[in-house]
């Protein structure tokens, strides 16, 4: 049988994978994708917990999260474009004008 714990653990693993992406990838877009993975991992928790508690709130929250994800993606990608215009690269390590 599949328990809530399974989903929670899965969610945790996905979340951790998402975080890893932030460090492993040297491409701004992939980093954004990693954050999407994290958000989705959370969504899994919401849906599973909603199912467990028998409430639709979990699902509704996922919709809001999706909205947020979309909004973030829009702004994030716009920023990526802006950065790319300035530097013609997507490597995060290229943007170290501001430091120390």
């Amino acid at each position: 049988m599949i328990s809530l714990n399974h989903y929670l653990v899965l969610s945790g693993i996905l979340f951790a994978i998402g975080t890893a992406g932030v460090f492993l990838r040297r491409n701004l877009i992939t980093i954004l994708l990693s954050i999407e993975i994290m958000l989705n991992a959370v969504n899994v928790t919401f849906v599973a917990v909603g199912r467990y508690l028998g409430t639709v709130d979990g699902q509704i929250i996922t919709f809001f999260v999706m909205t947020v994800a979309a909004a973030e993606a829009a702004v994030g990608l716009a920023l990526v474009i802006a950065l790319f215009r300035h530097r013609e690269t997507l490597s995060p390590d290229a943007f170290t004008l501001l430091k120390w």
């Binding site: 929670l8 969610s11 979340f15 998402g18 975080t19 932030v22 701004l28 980093i31 954004l32 954050i35 994290m38 958000l39 991992a41 959370v42 928790t45 919401f46 917990v49 508690l53 409430t55 709130d57 979990g58 929250i61 809001f64 999260v65 947020v68 909004a71 973030e72 702004v75 994030g76 920023l79 990526v80 802006a82 950065l83 300035h86 530097r87 943007f95 004008l97 501001l98 430091k99």
Partner: protein, 475 residues
């Protein structure tokens, strides 16, 4: 009471934001339009509305609560907003910012901030957080010609998104134990249940989310870069507004909802607070860019504010409110002056740009000094009362070590505030580029900020009373 009343201030601000957008849409290229005036009207309206709502404890939709606590923060935010608007009128054009978008986003940001402090639902807090964050991200990148702006915005954005994922995960765990994201439900759940793993995870992750927004160590690293890269007026705005809103929600969630778990989170926040105070002050010592320096200063101030939360008593809560006000006024004043002296070509944000300011602009130099002294916690300014209040809250709870770290770090921070003063008063002007003229309204705004700073420093009784009233609802 389920009325719309509680949302009125927020709605007013949103409306003025939309009005600003529309105004921009109808603006002829090259035409000057007093969009700042629209914002001002909205903010004053919101402030007035907040005053009318005082003591009504209105609740709307079960998720927005205009209790005195949120109204106090509303007022702080309105002050921040009004000052920002006033300064913006001078700055926006000079800084080459698109006015319509700038004002609209600023006002949207303020509405998000107000909502964040007023929301009693974790989901709404999250959404409000996103509204204000996105506004601020965009504002940071608003000057399109600036690489630094884009870089700063992206760093801020990416880390913000990263941290809001953690925050969201925390909400998920809270949802798991409470079955709802309403704060009251969460409070009941944590009060009744033992401190389970889930509750601890929720506490930890929520703390991370807030700590990021208030730029506490080690979640602070975006702060200097974002503050430095953003247009100065935006730095002024976000360094005060975001902090006020985030601390509002932080206090509400941790000192009210999660109060039963305080044995769990106080040690963590205590360490964070100590680290924040130390890093914020120590690293600030060597900065040569004023915005960056003030960024570290704002980190340090976050540490002091965290100390208020760590104290977890009513003095601590009231102290956080008072401190936010004192800090906001002084910080926006200081950064406002930097902004008012800058142009798109010459940011006027290096330390040496301030050399000999008192000779050419004695008034501005004096105002800057007052703000810096307030930030440094010298009597008889607001900053001193704020620090004193925070530390007395900490001492009351026996957090002597933290208080001592706090006061010592504030001495170190004085060092770098004084570096600016040294530049302004004790160094000769070495041919800094011509500084633009500061308009009368901006000057009036600065003077008003100074008067508030002194008022709070000399006669803080009334405001402290308000602050103490404000925390009645989140006991």
């Amino acid at each position: 009471m389920n009325t719309m009343a509680a949302t009125i201030p927020i709605v007013i601000v949103v409306l003025s934001a939309i009005a600003a957008m529309l105004a921009e849409a109808f603006r002829h290229p090259g035409e000057r339009m007093p969009i700042a005036g629209l914002g001002l009207i909205g903010l004053v309206g919101a402030a007035v509305a907040s005053c009318f709502l005082w003591n009504t404890d209105a609740t709307s939709f079960g998720v927005v609560r205009a209790d005195n606590f949120s109204l106090f923060i509303n007022i702080i935010l309105c002050i921040i907003g009004i000052l920002t608007m006033v300064f913006s009128n001078d700055v926006v054009e000079r800084e080459d910012l698109p006015p319509g978008e700038y004002y609209a986003l600023t006002l949207f940001g303020i509405s998000g901030m107000m909502l964040m402090a007023a929301a009693t639902d974790l989901l709404v807090i999250f959404l409000a957080l996103e509204v204000l964050s996105l506004s601020v991200y965009v504002l940071t990148a608003l000057r399109r010609s600036s690489v630094a702006g884009a870089e700063a915005a992206f760093k801020y954005f990416l880390l913000g998104a990263f941290s809001s994922a953690f925050f969201l995960y925390g909400i998920a765990f809270a949802f798991t134990i409470a079955g709802s994201t309403r704060l009251d439900a969460v409070a009941t759940a944590v009060a009744s249940g033992p401190s389970t793993t889930l509750a601890l995870l929720a506490v930890g992750l929520l703390a991370v989310g807030f700590a990021f927004k208030v730029s506490a160590v080690p979640f602070h690293m975006w702060t200097p870069d974002a503050y430095e890269g953003a247009p100065t007026i935006v730095t002024a705005f976000m360094s005060t507004g975001v902090k006020a809103a985030a601390f509002g929600a932080f206090v509400r969630v941790f000192l009210s909802t999660l109060q039963p778990l305080q044995g769990q989170w106080i040690p963590v926040l205590a360490v964070v607070s100590a680290a924040t105070m130390i890093v914020g002050t120590v690293v600030g010592v060597l900065q040569s860019n004023i915005k960056r320096m003030l960024a570290y200063s704002s980190i340090a101030h976050a540490g002091y504010l965290l100390l208020g939360i760590v104290s977890a008593n009513s003095a601590g809560k009231a102290a956080v409110l008072f401190y936010l006000l004192a800090y906001a006024v002084a910080n926006i004043g200081a950064l406002g002056i930097v902004a008012l002296l800058g142009t798109a070509e010459h940011q006027h944000d290096q330390l040496r740009d301030f050399a000999g300011l008192w000779k050419t602009r004695p008034g501005l130099a004096a105002l800057m000094t007052v703000f810096l002294l307030s930030l440094g916690g010298f009597p008889p300014t607001a900053g001193f009362i704020g620090k004193w209040y925070i530390f007395s809250a900490a001492v009351q709870e026996g957090h002597y070590t933290l208080a001592i770290i706090g006061v010592l770090s504030s001495v170190v921070s004085v060092f770098y505030y004084l570096r600016i003063v040294v530049m302004m008063y004790m160094t000769e002007d070495t041919g800094v580029a011509a500084r633009p003229v500061v308009s009368v309204p901006s000057m009036a705004g600065l003077w008003a900020a100074m008067i508030v700073t002194f008022y709070l420093g000399v006669l803080p009784t009334r405001v402290i009373d308000y602050a103490l009233q404000s925390i009645q609802t989140i006991l």
